[in-house]
């Protein structure tokens, strides 16, 4: 077995056998996300059950054929609590004693108004006991029933009027005289899909990509910092540095071992996350039925290759940066605290680009973001989906340049005695700050 392979195997074994990493990085996402997803799914199902079984109360002050027909419609397929009361105040008080969440008040003159072509007046009272989503839903349910009935009433009325004037026109066309169809043009191809649907797919994709990149980078940075700090904490680094193996091989072993575990962590995170998405949003299947491929935004082989290169270089740069920083610490805790600062340049572009396009931002913010290498990783990933390979290559070149610089620094630290003698203590930090 070659020295590099031996070093990688050792790194992976050391990292994944560490309970903190095994549980925190690999197992937790696989456990936590499904639990979160199930919790949301259970609560959503309970909301739906609440909607189905929702009952409403009716306080009717009116008499007439139109009111009777309306009541017949409401009583069919719904659980209705009829209230007998001398006044509205009494009805409201009685309503609060029932399990019904909404009260429909049919005012006196409703039937007469409709017959005379005036507006029938109704009022809905919602009894907000728990301020939950389910309560809002049940209020909407009664409102929905009223709207449907309102539509049917209007169509009937229009039909009657059309018959009176002798016009042979569909009442629905009189009610809605205009109709609009939407289509979208992507990369020169006309798609019979509404732009709002395309945006929802791109939105989900543009959220997923930065999240994926961010998660993977954060895991890898954590792994690399832990890997080097473990050597220092366990006092194994000195021995390692006197072995007949090149310092660059040791550095490469650390990078590769951290990548393996970091990617493992990211995969388990994404498995957990996708399980969370499918289980949490299982009540809304239309959200997941369309893919970027369906709307012509799928990855071509060259895009896939460039995306892979981009992810790899981004990972290596994050790792090299974490290793360089972690060499100045003595233990895992201080290494993780110090590399915690690296989360900011990773998380900042991810969050901003999740909700906005870089060209929409003020020029100063654009320049600041473009100076951060990890912005380019996200830009390259998005551009790969849109087939803008020139931008992908430009972004990869920028981050590759940064990676080479960081790798050079890491290699320099590894090839000098700094790796053994460097100490980053709170004392040295205070002294450094004072000097500044």
């Amino acid at each position: 077995m070659g020295s590099l392979t031996a070093l990688i195997i050792k790194e992976v074994k050391e990292l994944i056998r560490d309970p903190k990493i095994l549980i925190g990085v690999i197992l937790m996402p696989l456990i936590i996300f499904p639990i979160m997803g199930s919790a949301i799914s259970i609560s959503q199902e309970s909301v739906q059950r609440a909607l189905i079984s929702a009952s409403f109360a009716i306080y009717n002050e009116d008499q007439g054929l139109v009111t009777d027909a309306f009541l017949e419609y409401l009583y069919a397929n719904n659980t209705v609590v009829p209230l007998q009361a001398a006044s509205l105040e009494e009805a409201i008080a009685a309503f609060q004693e029932t399990n019904a969440t909404t009260l429909l008040h049919i005012r006196e003159g409703y039937s007469d108004n409709i017959t005379r072509g005036l507006k029938g007046e109704l009022k809905i009272y919602a009894n907000l006991k728990s301020l939950s989503i389910a309560e809002a839903g049940t209020t909407d349910t009664l409102g929905g029933l009223v709207n449907i009935y309102s539509y049917v009433l209007s169509i009937t009325k229009i039909n009657t009027l059309l018959e009176q004037v002798g016009e042979a026109v569909d009442a629905r066309n009189v009610r809605n005289p205009l109709t609009v169809d939407y289509a979208s043009i992507i990369k020169g191809t006309v798609l019979e899909v509404a732009p709002s649907s395309i945006f929802s797919i791109i939105m989900s994709q543009s959220i997923l990509l930065p999240v994926m990149m961010m998660v993977m980078l954060m895991f890898a940075i954590q792994m690399a910092a832990t890997s080097i700090a473990l050597e220092k904490e366990q006092k194994t680094l000195e021995t390692l540095m006197t072995l007949p193996v090149g310092r660059m091989t040791i550095l490469s072993g650390k990078l590769a071992g951290s990548i393996v575990v970091g990617v493992g962590g990211a995969i388990s995170y994404m498995i957990g996350f996708s399980y969370y998405m499918t289980s949490a949003f299982s009540f809304a299947p239309e959200m997941t039925s369309m893919t970027t491929g369906d709307v012509g935004l799928g990855l071509e082989p060259i895009g896939m290759l460039l995306l892979g290169v981009n992810i790899f270089i981004t990972l290596v740069s994050g790792l090299a940066l974490a290793i360089s920083l972690a060499t100045f610490t003595d233990d895992v805790r201080s290494a993780q605290s110090l590399t915690g600062f690296l989360i900011l340049p990773v998380i900042l572009p991810a969050i901003i680009l999740m909700f906005s396009d870089i060209s929409m931002l003020p020029p100063t913010v654009q320049w600041i973001l473009l100076a951060i290498p990890y912005t380019h990783s996200i830009l390259a990933s998005k551009a790969a989906f849109l087939g803008n390979y020139q931008l992908v290559i430009r972004s990869i070149a920028y981050i590759a340049g940064f990676t080479v610089a960081v790798l050079y620094i890491a290699a320099r630290i590894f090839s000098t005695e700094r790796i053994i003698t460097s100490r980053f203590t709170s004392f040295s930090l205070r002294r450094l700050l004072r000097r500044r």
């Binding site: 021995t239 006197t242 053994i420």
Partner: protein, 243 residues
Amino acid sequence: MELAIDAKDLVKNFGNVLALDKASFTVRDREIFGLIGPNGAGKTTALRILGTLIKPTSGTADVFGNDVVRNPEKIRGIISYLPEEAGAYQNLSGYEYLSFMAGFYVGDGDTADDMMKEAKLISGLGDRLGDRVKGYSQGMKRRLLLARALMMKPKLAILDEPTSGLDVVHAFHVRQMIKDYADTMGVTVLLSSHNMLEVEYLCHRVALINEGQIIAEGKPEELKEKYTAENLEQVFMEVTRLG
């Protein structure tokens, strides 16, 4: 006789701290040489320079004719270094740790299996080698690390405080192993210690170091005779008093 180590006027500065101040000493092939002195005397710095971990600020040091600054890779191929505060990978078993280390030396004659057999013998840990290192006592860890340092029969073993922090039983085992191994395998040993009685028992020759300077060098008997002392502790006190 070929010199295993030839250190001349070694100086090492860490910022304003002068850790070594023109330290010179030689170690002959196949001898056990002790570098003795109090804490902070410069022992570890000298060993780290010879182990190619750090570079001298000035002066030269050769290990079997190889300069520590110009040929560190060559030196790393023929030495093994046991730092004072060394540890082993907590999440590997003793076997896995030794096997990982042996992998870097395979091809120089011995196979990894031969080295593992040797390591099992030196450590005396038996079946406990199958357990994870995190479950080892301080003494067991030190025995494992000594086995790692000696199993590949290096030309030079650099052992920094090999019995530091060990109880009587473990310290005795470690000392015995160093002595036996150097005698039977012809390994040159450079060790440091502030336990002068231990050095007197183990070493053919010693160098006394204080405040970064070598203040005396020779066989323990010669030094005791020269300073009319009963042991090396008294020699050290006498030399520092005169100095």
